[in-house]
Amino acid sequence: MDDLIADFVAECREMLEALGGEIVAWEAQPDDRGRLDSIFRFVHTVKGNCGFFDFPRLEALSHAAEDALADVRAGRRTPDPALVSAVLAIIDRIGEMIACIEAGEEFPAGDDSSLIDALAPGAEGPATQVAAALPEAKGGGANAPRTIRLSVELLDRVMSGVSDMVLARNELARRLREAPSEVAVDSAFERLSGIIAEMRDAITRTRMQRIENLFVALPRMVRDLSAELGRQVLVDIDGGDVELDREMIEMIRDPLTHIIRNAVDHGIETPAERLKSGKREIGLLSVSARQSGNQILIDIADDGRGIDGKKLVEKAVAAGTIDKAAAASLSPREQLALIFEAGLSTAKEVTAISGRGVGMDVVRSNVERIGGIVEVDSVPGQGTRMTLRVPLTLTIIPALTVSIGNQHFAIPRSAIEEIVRVNGGSVTLDRIGGAGVATIRGRRVPEISLAEVLGLESDIADEDGSLVVLRPAGGDVYALAVDRIHDHEELVVKPAAPAVMATGLYAGTTLADDGSPILLFDPAGVAQVGGIKLEAQERSARIAETTVVTAQRDNSVLLFRGLDGCRRALRLAVVDRIEEVERKAIRKAAGQLRVQLGDTILPLAGVEALEKGDDKVRVFRLSDGAHEIGYAFREVIDLMAMDNELIPADNPGAVSGVTLIGGEPAELIDAHWLFSHHLGAAAKPKVQAVCRLPSDDPWMQNMLRPIVEAAGYLVIGEHDELIPDLVIASDREPVEAGGSAKIIVLRSDPEGQDDESIYRYDRAGLLMALKAAATGRGK
């Protein structure tokens, strides 16, 4: 009897699971005969079995639902939302009772009559024809695939047995290769080997389940949620036939549910709000799964209000998760990623559905625990897309084996971008401040030596090794130097002991063909232990992308080629950004060449050699903080440090001098001259400060004067009659200031004496002094 009950419970559970999606689909399309039939079939089965087992309450419920549905099938009733809800309520009650039976408990006390009454239709028609449909329903049931139920534990045991068998086969193969053997033995072994491989595939598949099992419950869940929250949501599900390890399906059930709850609760607006913002009143929630390599990608996208990154940042700052300075430098993507930080929720109030303190941080940690990652992308007002990336299976991982000295290690293939030989032409290795940087076909990636990370002795020279370029999940690339690359293998990975995992380097252990253990690396962990800053690198990569460069050391210059082909350099600090403009945006106006950049018109320098043929011209946007000018150029060569002596130009002009940069001469552009020359009257303050320079000192006149003028001063000589506000003198020829003028003394020796003089190429110090003098004058 117990066995029969167990079968009954199991059958009901299966049907209930399959039914979840059907009911909602039926509600959307009440005339869909197929769905109606399957729901009818369920209540009918329950009713039939109840009579046999003596569960009177279950029988009464299923009987009532069966009657009502029979009326619908006979066309005597049209299903309306009230009926659908009533049927759903009954199915839920049945589910609860079945759970009680399974657990061997008594039914909770209660009355089902209210549920049954809810089924009563507004008008009753004549009752006939119920029996006619039944044979059809039974026929449908016979088509179901033949299945048996097995405990996962048993499957796991079989799986581990097969894994061991594979290992034993591998060892046998090795022994056979070593010993001289007969052809007959070889061919028998080949056959055995083939069978084992086939078996392993089959047993792997038994652990696979269609992700549909996870998805069928979603329409029902969304329906209930949206009814409760007063939303209207259409669910679009795609990719249910993607297969995933059954354990994995269980692991992603909770995160997926949580994300969907969030989407309905916080993402999709109420119908009224949606209409107001010009959207259809029914929100669209699409859930799709697809396989990509050995990963499964599950997308959950809604067309709701999206996530406001700025609000998240405010919250994070308020909650103390990040400090203000860090918050200001976050990219939009990084702002959104804050949603995964603990204790942050954009919901203003806590609702019953989500925002109960179980946040996205839990979702992320759950997903990361199974080696997956979760990403978020959102456009405010247009919707949010969450993507779960999870590995196909927990147990078999394609991996690359590498070695240091004579010890082998494995690297998960999913993280490997490419493998390059160090002595190949496309790779160079550099040491920068002790850290390794590999340049692979022009791309700079941080490099770490596996031997160093592990503290092992490498038995070959650096240049004989290989680089494995890795991209850990969610991180940026880095290169790992190893001694030798061996083989691609499918490895059965088992978790390692806590003491081994505590190193942070490993993801698990596995056995090699010869039966000896191999450690499998966690690529993100190796990077971390090796000191690679994955996040920081992402940030600096961003800077390079937009060429907004600030706060660099004073001697860094941007090396570029001008329109006339000359190598020139500009101090980085004055370059605001790089823009590309149409040739026609450059024209002569108001006495000089100007370029239109968006809504602003800037004076343009560097255009002496502009050719007719150029369609597009690239322009540096130079800024002194208050004013901007453009400087046309052909191409950027590199970012360099200027550490050679500057040979001053003979005449003041756009070029302040020439210096060796990167081993070749380059002209250094005098931005101060450019500004003073091109801004002209526009830049002059209303009341100009006056600065006196020795008129017979060529350096002062040629080098310094433009700088002083750019700082807003009117420059006079000793014989002019104006009263100076500032006097600049060199340390060789001290001067008397006279009046209230300040004095700046410039020295030619970089090593400072103890006075207040400024080294004459200490531009920053000079500018500070100029600025201080100018402000001081006003007081």
Partner: protein, 147 residues
């Protein structure tokens, strides 16, 4: 009371391990080191296609370092939280019956022994120290962190 004890020698001392916890006694031959792991993790070894984490009991007890260079070592295999460990011992002697419950050792032992001690038990072979397997596996480093 009549718990079975496995008598082994660690660092020259005869001590007892609860025999029920010991799955088997093996001879380890290959030992794959685990770079960067805690010092008492001597490495990994394989036993019937299972990976064993080999624990150097000497290091675990802060008594020095086992010499694993010359190949075969005897070890007791235990399971803890689903992971299999091999505890390196000098000699595995015998299984005896405990004649008493463990009682505290009042004499001063070394710090490492103190940490791994579950008390003293009477046996036919005289009093023996009952060693806590969890403490051996956790090693000295974990203890230091917890403190």
């Amino acid at each position: 009371m009549n718990e079975l004890l496995l008598i082994v020698t660690i660092a020259g001392s005869r001590v007892a391990l609860p025999a029920a916890a010991v799955e088997s006694v093996v001879e380890l031959d290959t030992l794959i080191p685990v770079p960067r792991a805690a010092p008492h993790v001597a490495g990994l070894s394989a036993l019937r296609s299972r990976v064993l984490t080999v624990i150097d009991t000497l290091r675990s007890l802060e008594l020095g370092e086992s010499d694993c260079s010359n190949g075969i070592r005897e070890a007791a295999v235990v399971e803890l939280d689903g992971h299999h460990y091999a505890l390196i011992v000098d000699v595995v002697e015998d299984v005896v019956e405990a004649l008493s419950d463990p009682s505290p050792v009042r004499a001063a032992m070394g710090a490492g022994w103190e940490r791994a001690s579950k008390g003293m038990v009477e046996t036919e072979e005289g009093p023996l120290l009952l060693v806590d397997i969890d403490a051996l596996v956790a090693g000295a480093a974990a203890e230091a962190r917890a403190a």
